[in-house]
């Protein structure tokens, strides 16, 4: 583990980059996209500290409300973790794998290397100019793509990440699963093209390569914990909202693949079945209505189904002119969520369906 990084002189190129990132961080701190739940932030920061140890004091993690798989780290110690990533990982060890990788970039000061590389080319004006045109979160997505690390840098970050995971007691085999899971999702996309699939992949080696490399690294240090139960308990209060964000992303094939995996991993979770039912209903092609109905019904059977499950059932039954079943489910929805923003619309459906 290298010594703690010291703030570079402002007059240096690295100092200028830190200063720029400081301004971005000020904006991010105020951004409405920053998730402000203190317990969730404390939890993610705690995992980071276990990995980064003496560097913990220099790294600040921000959970950002964006339903895509991404995390990135700026050279000044500002790290972003998007909620789409939080939705996708299955346990604490998998999040630690991503955080450890980002810490690896930070410790090896890859972004500075990258800046100097870009600076040596004509693209530097564009590199710096882009910072002025987007909001904090948007800018940071741009920054992520600008710091398109070399494959060697990625391999080094993977190796550092695996070492940090192992030192913190996590099962390093979980790192390759992150990429394997994501690969399943993007392969489901029509016209699948590995490498053009997410902001994360735009800047990283292919998921297949990552998966294989990380598997080999894990074999060197087998064992460790996943902390899946802790992960589930800590993320449970947010999971339904993250799932709702996912269902509205408009990437139905990816969402079905993701949610099918999640249901396979935790078949008892009603909210996963509800979410896949929503995706099928919103896609609405072929036999999707049947699939939606089956998922909603299994969510109800699993217990603790979200209130919107009954709305979904009501909508499907209404489309099928099954007035009695539609009425029953709309009524259950209104009982469970009387203040829902669409309650007036649902009441009008009930009037139309009759007593």
């Amino acid at each position: 583990m290298p010594a703690r990084l010291t703030r570079p002189e402002l007059s240096t190129d690295e100092g200028g980059l830190w200063s720029l990132m400081d301004r971005q961080e000020t904006q991010l701190r105020r951004s409405p996209f920053a998730v402000r739940d203190p317990q969730l932030n404390e939890y993610v920061q705690g995992i980071t500290c276990r990995l980064a140890r003496e560097h913990c004091a220099d790294i600040r993690v921000y959970v950002v409300h964006t339903p895509l798989f991404n995390a990135n780290m700026a050279p000044n110690g500002m790290m972003q973790v998007w909620t789409g990533l939080m939705l996708r990982v299955e346990n604490e060890a998998q999040l630690a794998a991503v955080l450890g990788h980002e810490i690896g970039h930070y410790l090896a000061r890859h972004s500075v290397e990258r800046m100097r590389d870009v600076k040596s080319r004509a693209a530097f004006g564009q590199f710096m100019g882009l910072f002025g045109v987007a909001g904090a979160v948007g800018q940071l997505a741009v920054i992520a793509s600008l710091f398109a690390y070399s494959r060697d840098q990625e391999r080094e970050a993977d190796a550092i990440g695996a070492t940090l995971m192992q030192q913190a007691g996590y099962d390093t085999a979980e790192a390759s699963k992150v990429w394997g899971n994501l690969l399943l999702e993007i392969q489901a996309r029509p016209g699948y093209d590995e490498g053009r699939s997410s902001p994360m992949f735009a800047t990283h080696p292919s998921p297949t390569e990552r998966q294989e490399t990380l598997k080999l690294l894990a074999e060197l240090n087998p064992g460790g914990r996943t902390d899946e139960q802790t992960w589930q308990a800590k993320t449970a209060p947010f999971m339904l909202n993250w799932l709702k964000d996912e269902t509205k992303r408009g990437q139905h094939e990816e969402s079905v693949a993701l949610l099918t995996r999640m249901i396979g991993h935790a078949p008892e979770r009603a909210e996963f079945r509800f979410a896949r039912g929503e995706v099928y209903r919103l896609r609405g092609s072929g036999s999707d209505a049947d699939a939606a109905l089956a998922d909603y019904q299994s969510a109800v059977k699993a217990g603790n189904a979200p209130a919107e499950t009954y709305r979904g059932l009501g909508i499907v039954y209404r489309q099928r002119s099954d007035a009695a079943a539609a009425r029953e489910n709309f009524q259950r929805y209104l009982e469970a969520a009387p203040q829902a923003p669409d309650s007036a619309m649902i009441k009008s459906y009930l009037e139309e369906l009759g007593p």
């Binding site: 105020r30 948007g138 793509s145 053009r196 992303r249 990437q251 909508i315 009008s348």
Partner: protein, 195 residues
């Protein structure tokens, strides 16, 4: 003056953007939708807009009025393929003629948030629109590009399998309240032929 500023700004950003004045009175939008304006609006013409007509009072990106007329089954409600440049998959949000109001609102939500903005539905209720039984919805939108909080309202109806809708959104502070009465009047005046 406002139009000149808007024109200059937009021309600087894209050489093929133009702004035309929409005069008050009855104005057709597409083949079947007509609205009555109590004052002039500015219509933005650009290759990456559509199928909705985009109008503004304050200038883009401050406020925008989207007018959808006769969107057909399987037709996308947006034109450009957002996301391709950043490596994300382009998303297509297409109308289906069997969609119910909740699903149409979710469709608009998807369209408005495809750049990562955040949408929150405030209210969805039945409402007359275009001369028939339509729906109305209110929402808030946090724009990702600049974190500005917008307030929005929309009306819609499906007639003969085609979607007709009007959406208006503007910054919560000052701008939305300044135009909301005019927008409500415009929406109430909307008529769909052969509904």
């Amino acid at each position: 003056m406002k139009i000149i500023v808007v024109v200059a700004l937009l021309l600087a950003l894209a050489g093929c953007v133009s702004v035309t004045k929409v005069d008050s009175g009855d104005r057709p939008v597409g083949d079947r939708l007509t609205v009555n304006l109590d004052g002039p609006w500015n219509q933005i013409n650009a290759p990456n807009l559509g199928p909705a007509q985009t109008w503004t009072m304050e200038g883009l990106p401050v406020d925008q009025l989207l007018l959808y007329s006769g969107i057909k089954n399987e037709q996308a409600i947006h034109a450009e393929r957002v996301g391709a440049a950043s490596g994300a998959t382009p998303k297509v949000f297409a109308f289906r003629s069997t969609m119910q109001p909740d699903e149409i609102v979710t469709l608009f939500e998807g369209m408005l948030t495809r750049d990562g903005s955040r949408f929150e539905l405030v209210k969805l209720e039945p409402a007359p629109f275009g001369g028939g039984k339509g729906f109305r919805f209110d929402y808030t939108l946090t724009r990702k590009i600049d974190n500005v909080q917008l307030t929005g309202l929309g009306y819609g109806i499906v007639s003969k399998g085609e979607l007709f809708a009007i959406l208006y959104q503007a910054p919560k502070l000052a701008f939305f309240a300044r135009q909301s009465a005019r927008v409500e009047q415009l929406c109430r005046s909307a008529r769909v032929k052969n509904i």
